[in-house]
Structures are given as C-alpha cells and as structure tokens.
C-alpha cells in the first residue's frame, strides 16, 4: 500500500533509519523507508560488536555522549516492548600498568560526567574473583554495559513500525533526488515524494546528502574485522573484556564480546580502506586472535566458526584521539527539511533510539505533530524452542508439530521457528534474512546441515525456483537451476 506523497521519506533501513521510522510512527505522519538491499540491517547494522555502550568512551558535551547515554537507558525499555535479545552482562576494561590505570581513571571520570552509571575501578583480586580466566592488575568495571543482537534489534524496530503504518520499500536504491518545494526521490524502480527527507544511509550518507544538494560531508570508510567462536558453554568469560583504547582513536581496540546467543566475538580491527569492501584479511584475523589470547589465553580452546566485518563511517581520517568528530544529526544548512544523519559510527547502535528522538524534535519544531492514537508499542515474543523448559517444549509440540522437527542441528532450530522466520512481515526470503531471524545456519556447521532443508522448504512449500534463491544481495544466487529438468 503506497501512500505517495509522503510526509517523511527515510533513506536507509539500518538501525538508525528504522529507529527513526518507528519513532515517527507514534505520530500521524505518512512515512516511507527506502532501502537498496534485499533486507533491512544489511549495512553497518549487521557488522558490529552489538554492545550497548554505557557512555564512558565519548567526550562530555558531544552529541555522541548525549545520544549514547540516552539510548543506553532507552534500549532495555524497547527490549521489553519489542522482545529482542538484550543482556546486561557488564564489561571490564583491563590494564596491567600504571599508564593504563590513569587511562582507566580518565574513562571513569568521563563516564561519570556523561551521566553513565555503574562504573568502578577494581584491582587484581576483584578481577580474578569475577573473571578467573582474566589476568589483569586493574580494570574499569562497568556493571551496566549490555549486549544485544543488532540485527534482531533492527528487525524488531521494523516490524513494529510496519504494524504502525510505516511503508518499507526494499530493493529501492536511491539514485536521484531533486527538490521543487517538496523532495522527489527516485529509486531504481519508482519515484517518491515527500515534505521531509531523512538521510540515514550509513556509509553512503555523504553521497545521499550530495544527491540532495548538500555537498559538505565526506565519509572515510574504516573496516573492522571479526572472528566468531563456537559457544562458550564452559563460560570461560562472562563479561565483555576490553583493552585500553589505542591512541589513534580509530577504535576501542580488539575486544572480547560475548553475544546474546553464547558465542564470543573477537575484534574488531581498524583499517582505513578506499572502497566499501567487506573482505577478511589474513593479517588482521591472525593479529586479532593474538591480541585476544593475550587478554584471555583460554579462548584458544574455542573453535572459530565464522568471520565477518563491518565498516565505520568515519568523518575524519583519524590519526590521534584529538581528531574527534561528532555525529552529524541536523537539518541541512543548505537544503531545508533535509535531515542529515552522518558519521554514525560507534556508539551508533546504542544511540539509535536517541538519534530518532532528535530527528523527531527537528521535525516537531516545524510541524504540528498529532499523536497516532492507534500506536501499538508492543510486539509479542516469538517461540524460541531451545530456551523453553521441558514442559513448555511438550506443550508447544502438542499445539504445533512443526516445533517437533529440527531444521538446524547446531542451534536446535525447529521447523516451526524456521516457518515463522520465512513468513516475516517484510516478506524477505533470502537465506541470510531467514538465518538472522531464526539462527538456522549460524552455528558451527554454518548451514551445512540446514541449508538443504531450508532450500527444500522454500522450493516445495513456497514454490520458489532454485535459481531464484538468494544468499543476500541481488546476484548472490545460490544455484544455477536444476540438473535435469
């Protein structure tokens, strides 16, 4: 259902664009989100650490600090409303020398000033008490730092926004924008127009700003690679373990981050690149393992089951921490009613709800906004078979036998969960889209077992031709058709 012309068009369905969409759906506004990929959260929002930072890494008085702390408090509430995985597990930033200790103290001070809660400097004895496998003299203990699933967070925002009337257009790459009182936004498939234009295009937000007539921004892509370990069933670590941030200010340093599903992320690296390539490199994969094993030697025991990467949209080619650049979240100085959201690197995930709120205020200052009385803030939890008790499992299978059939052996994902994922409200049918929604294929065999099963269901029960099944983007076809027609 297309409500062209729109009040607001959002370009980009990453966590930022989707948070904006959901925030605006609380008001009587016609909103559309245009996304070039085959699914939401296919950009930076899928390739990060998934940390809800507490707010001590960012300088006082900046937009980064303000949106981070505000977002930090908003996310648990959103998790309760929308039922995406959120765990407050805490973090240790560790150090072994006096220089490090002063850095830790500096971080704590910055955090306290930013309004960040639950920070404490602890020493060896306390460290080995709470994290026996971590050897360090000093640590900044942040009890409140949390982890989320970044893509499920984004998907949850989308599904709720959809329910509250926002239109999403996937496979719509914006290629041209012009303004004649209102905005005209041309995608590869269609033309849309609207009063307001929100640029939430992540890595490409400088390009979108340019298309819209504001040429004042430039992004420097900075890649971060990761390794994913198998599940840490023995609980080698329970919290995030971070080093003192490196002096170049480009990153927080290679850290060790448990995920909401029990795996551990090792990374990221920081490498300025002159394209948007997401490849993994031998050099960084090896270096990151070394860095991580120095902090927690026992991690060596966990097999690596996956590697990936993400790209930071930096506003400066940073060399030192002094090269700080803040988020850009503003109405363009040259193009009225264009709201630019540019340079949203870390802590962008944590800050997303607060960024959406800022955007709402910018619009609210110029428009009379009326509340959407039908707004429904809640989305029910979808069954997650593995986390149920024996009694609940019995009950669920009795109600729906599809929950008695395993599709993914590594993650114990049932056909019931797979079908829920395939039937997602956005209609995404890519293998990665299905994987992110139900975890089939995310385990140690990386789809070796479930891919044939999922393919069979897509072909037999949904009538999708083998040659049309995509991994993720267009051209990522899995197969060339049938062997014998």
């Amino acid at each position: 259902m297309c409500k062209n012309p729109y009040d607001v068009i959002i370009i980009g369905a990453g966590v930022v664009g989707c948070a904006c969409g959901r925030e605006l759906s609380k008001y009587k506004l016609n909103v559309a989100v245009l996304e070039k990929n085959t699914d939401v959260s296919e950009g930076i929002s899928k390739g990060n650490s998934g940390v809800v930072h507490a707010g001590f890494y960012v300088p006082y008085g900046t937009l980064k600090a303000r949106t981070n702390v505000e977002g930090f408090f908003a996310i648990p509430k959103l998790a309760a409303e929308l039922n995406f995985p959120y765990k407050k597990i805490g973090k240790l930033v560790i150090s072994n020398d006096k220089y490090g200790l002063t850095e830790l103290k500096r971080l704590k001070e910055a955090g306290d000033k930013n309004g960040c809660i639950g920070l404490e400097i602890i020493t060896e004895k306390q460290i080995s008490h709470i994290e026996p496998k971590v050897k360090a003299k000093y640590a900044l203990f942040s009890k409140e730092t949390a982890i989320i699933s970044p893509y499920l967070f984004t998907i949850a925002l989308v599904e709720n926004a959809l329910k509250n009337g926002v239109d999403f257009f996937l496979n719509h790459e914006v290629i041209k924008i012009w303004k004649d009182k209102e905005f005209f936004v041309q995608t590869k498939k269609d033309t849309f127009h609207s009063k307001w234009l929100i640029n939430a295009a992540g890595l490409y937000s400088d390009k979108i700003s340019c298309l819209a007539g504001d040429k004042n921004h430039k992004i420097f892509p900075c890649r971060g690679e990761y390794l994913v370990t198998d599940k840490d069933n023995e609980k080698i670590i329970n919290r995030m373990i971070y080093p003192i941030p490196p002096k170049d200010g480009a990153s927080l340093g290679v850290h060790i981050t448990p995920t909401t599903d029990g795996n551990i992320l090792i990374g990221p690296s920081a490498e300025f690149i002159n394209n948007y390539g997401l490849e993994n490199t031998k050099q960084f994969l090896n270096e990151m393992k070394e860095d991580a094993f120095k902090m927690v030697p026992e991690l060596k025991r966990l097999p690596i089951i996956r590697t990936y990467s993400g790209i930071r949209p930096k506003l400066i080619y940073a060399k030192t921490k002094k090269d700080f650049r803040d988020f850009v979240i503003e109405e363009s100085k040259t193009v009225p009613k264009l709201i630019n959201i540019i340079g949203i690197e870390s802590p962008g995930l944590a800050a997303a709800p607060a960024i959406a709120n800022l955007v709402l205020n910018i619009i609210g200052n110029k428009e009379n906004l009326n509340k959407n009385e039908q707004f429904d803030a809640y989305d029910p939890k979808k069954p997650d078979f593995q986390s149920l008790s024996v009694e609940e499992k019995k009950e669920l299978i009795k109600k729906n036998p599809d929950f008695g059939e395993i599709i993914c052996r590594c993650e114990t994902i049932t056909k019931g969960e797979l079908l829920n994922a395939i039937n997602n409200p956005l209609g995404v049918k890519t293998l990665d889209g299905i994987k992110r929604r139900c975890r089939a294929g995310m385990g140690r065999c990386q789809g070796g077992f479930c891919t044939p099963r999922t393919i069979k269901i897509l072909r037999k029960e949904y009538g999708i031709k083998e040659k049309d099944i995509l991994k993720n983007e267009n051209n990522s076809n899995l197969f060339f058709g049938k062997i014998k027609e």
Binding site: N280, I304, C445, N475, G481, I483
Partner: protein, 412 residues
C-alpha cells in the same frame, strides 16, 4: 523426573554404525532397544552416496551407499528392533537420560546403556579461515552431494575443489558426469587426503587436474563467488611469496576434513580427545561415562563405511555384555604411540581375554616400514610390515595375546 519410557539400550544415530551396533546388540541378547535417527529415513550419510564401492569388506559385494544401507535396514527390521526416524536427540545426561523430539512430541527416556553413533560434520571455510569476501557459491562437499544427489540442484558450472578428501574426489567425478567443469582439485599437503583408489577412479580417469602443495589464499566475488587466488606452500605449509595466481570459478567446494559430532556427548560429560575429536574410549569402546559407548564416525573418522560398521558391531557386543552383567569396570592400561603416528584408538585397554582391535593413522606417508607393538617389558606383541602407509588410511591391527600393561605403538 517423570520418564516417558525406560529402555535397556538407546542407539543415537541410524547410519551404518548405528544400524550395525543395534543389530549386534540384539544378536547378543538385548531385546529392549530403541534406535533414534533425526533424518526421515535410516541409512545416515549413505543415502546421499549414490556411487559404488561400499560393502566390499562387510558383504563381500560392491554396493552403492543406499544398497549397503538397505541391507542393514532390512536386517534391523527382520530382527524387530524398534526405531524412530525424524527423531532428534537434543539432550543426554551422564545418568543416561535422553531428551528427544519428534513431530508427535517431546520425550524423556532413561536407558541402561547408550551407544553414540551420531557421525560427523564437515569443516567449513571459516574453520580454516580462508580470507576474502563471503559470497554465495561456497559449499562443503557433503552439502553439495546432498543438493545434487537428493535434490537435483545445479550448484555451479565451473567448480574448484579445495582439499582432496574422499567426498571432494567423489564429487569431482559426479559433477563432471553431470556436465559441469571442474577447475581443479587443490590440496595443501604434498600428498592426497583421499584414498588412492578414489584418486584413480574419480580424477585420473576423467583427466581432472590435481595440484598438491597448493591452497586457496583468498576468495573473490561480490554476490556470487568469481574466483580465488591459489598459492603454493613449502614443506612447512608456509605460503611461498609471489606464487599466487587467480583462478576463475563460480563455485568452491571444500573437502577439508570431518569433525566427529560430539556436542551431545559433551553434554553427558563424555571426555573428548584432541587427537581425533572423538571420545576417549577403552578397548570395549566404552567412554569415561559408564554405560555410554561410542562407535563409527563420531568416535573417529573412518574412510570406509564398512569399517564404521565393523567397529560398531563390537560396540553393540560390549554394550550388550555391559547391560547383562552390570560388571564393574576393570583395570585399564594406556595405549601410547610414537611421533610418526597421528593417533591411535582406543585410548585404554580393559584387562580381558579377548582379542583387542587397535586402529591408528600415520602422520605422513611412509614406505617400507614396520609397526611394532610392545608392552612395558618390551615384549613384542605385534610386528607387521607395510610396503606403504598413507595418512588417508585408517589401519587396524589385532592384539591376540592378553595384554597386562601399557602398550606402545612404534613405526620403524
């Protein structure tokens, strides 16, 4: 706990090992057996192995995978052994309680003994951390075998195979027969991982090129894979600088090793050895958890289904004896081995009067060597000459004499 059922013996997995072990336990006097298999039909990995070469040892016949499995399934049915397919065991405890699920419900059972026969899974590109992009068109050889043989799917047109494991070799032939081009089989070692007979029958007979001491150093392609860099390695497996060249392909198959699937075993506290990825067992194939036995590919990777079945037959016999006698565990001796041997299984010997079977794999190919098995007093228990020993072959030896101390396997 309220159990849905009590059973004497549960067999987890219905591949050649599971079928064979259940049959053997039944023949050795256990009537109350339940075999659980998560696939829709029995037979395990053999259902997708439509080529021949199975059964030469067990049935003295040359069979295809499904034919081999069918013989065992028929026997299972004749013996009235109860089984359930589409039933996945999701939990196992050390007191031998099992949770499994099936479309008809979730069941909790308590067993006197359990035999693990869950088979293995394949190593992925991420396990060996091949750098580059992460496009579509990269499959493990076994997954490709499933898609091609069971689902009639054309996985690619120009296919490069990394690793010379047997499944990769078999797939090279299979895909060639279906009209696809094989851009080459690349192996990092200076010798092949697959069986000699498969090199001949699957590659040489079809003029498919094999490149040794070569590996994929980077993957290219956005969307679908477009090619890889191939680099040469020296004898320490270190990449040789400037040896890289780009090879075009639209599909990459990986045949780079199998991993015993022991996640369930670990839940029950079964000890796993790093040498094989399988359980630590004694010569009766019993794990460190009393009453839990292990056999087939979940114990150690077998190159032939026949050997998996034969090992499983013994596990069934010992499990039956355990159930009937409930005997306390005997003294155990350790099996040690020299540097040249990659691993030997079992890890311990139970003091008994019966012949003991030890299997081992060599690290590097060797010619004209002698295997010597000694006890602590340097008495020679076995001495056997080999004209050639290959890492791809799992060698089995029989110790006929009673063993009364730790033993040592040596290659000279």
């Amino acid at each position: 706990m309220k159990y849905d059922r009590f059973v004497d013996l549960v067999v987890i997995g219905g591949g050649p090992a599971g079928l064979s072990t259940a049959i053997s336990a039944k023949k050795n006097g256990i009537d109350d057996i339940l075999l659980l298999e998560r696939e829709l039909c029995l037979g395990g990995i053999l259902n997708q192995c439509i080529h021949d070469g199975f059964g030469l040892h067990l049935f003295k016949e040359n069979l295809t995978g499904p034919e081999y499995a069918q013989k065992q399934i028929d026997e299972l049915k004749t013996l009235n052994i109860s089984y359930l397919t589409d039933a996945m065991v999701i939990n196992l405890t050390k007191s031998k309680e099992l949770e499994f699920i099936h479309r008809t419900g979730h069941k909790l059972i308590k067993a006197k003994a359990v035999i693990l026969a869950m088979g293995c899974r394949e190593r992925t590109r991420f396990n060996i951390q091949i750098p580059g992009t992460r496009p579509s068109g990269i499959y493990t050889a076994g997954t490709a075998q499933n898609l091609v043989n069971l689902q009639n799917i054309k996985i690619g047109k120009n296919i490069l195979i990394l690793g010379s494991g047997d499944i990769g070799l078999i797939m090279a032939r299979r895909l060639t027969l279906e009209g696809m081009n094989i851009a080459g089989v690349y192996e990092i070692m200076s010798y092949t991982a697959g069986l000699e007979r498969n090199i001949q029958q699957c590659l040489n007979d079809y003029s498919i090129p094999l490149f040794l001491s070569s590996t994929v150093t980077e993957i290219f392609g956005k969307g679908r894979i477009e090619g890889v860099n191939i680099g040469k390695v020296d004898k320490d497996l270190k990449p040789i600088t400037h040896s890289e060249r780009f090879v075009k392909c639209d599909t990459l198959l990986l045949s780079v090793g199998l991993i015993p699937e022991n996640e369930l075993s670990k839940k029950a506290g079964v000890k796993i050895t790093d040498f094989t990825g399988g359980a630590v067992v004694d010569s009766e194939l019993q794990t460190n958890i009393e009453g839990i036995f292990s056999c087939g590919n979940v114990l150690q990777i077998h190159d032939l289904a026949d050997y998996a079945s034969l090992e499983a037959k013994r596990a069934g016999y010992f499990a039956a004896r355990y159930i009937k006698s409930k005997q306390k565990r005997y003294n155990r001796y350790k099996i040690n081995f020299c540097e040249k041997i990659k691993y030997a299984s079992p890890n311990y010997i139970v003091e008994n009067k019966e012949a003991i079977i030890v299997s081992f794999r060599i690290k590097k190919p060797a010619k004209n060597v002698v295997l010597i098995v000694k006890d602590r007093e340097n008495n020679i228990l076995v001495k056997k000459k080999f004209i050639r020993l290959l890492p791809s072959e799992l060698i089995q030896i029989k110790l006929e004499r009673e063993v009364k101390s730790d033993i040592y396997l040596e290659i000279e």
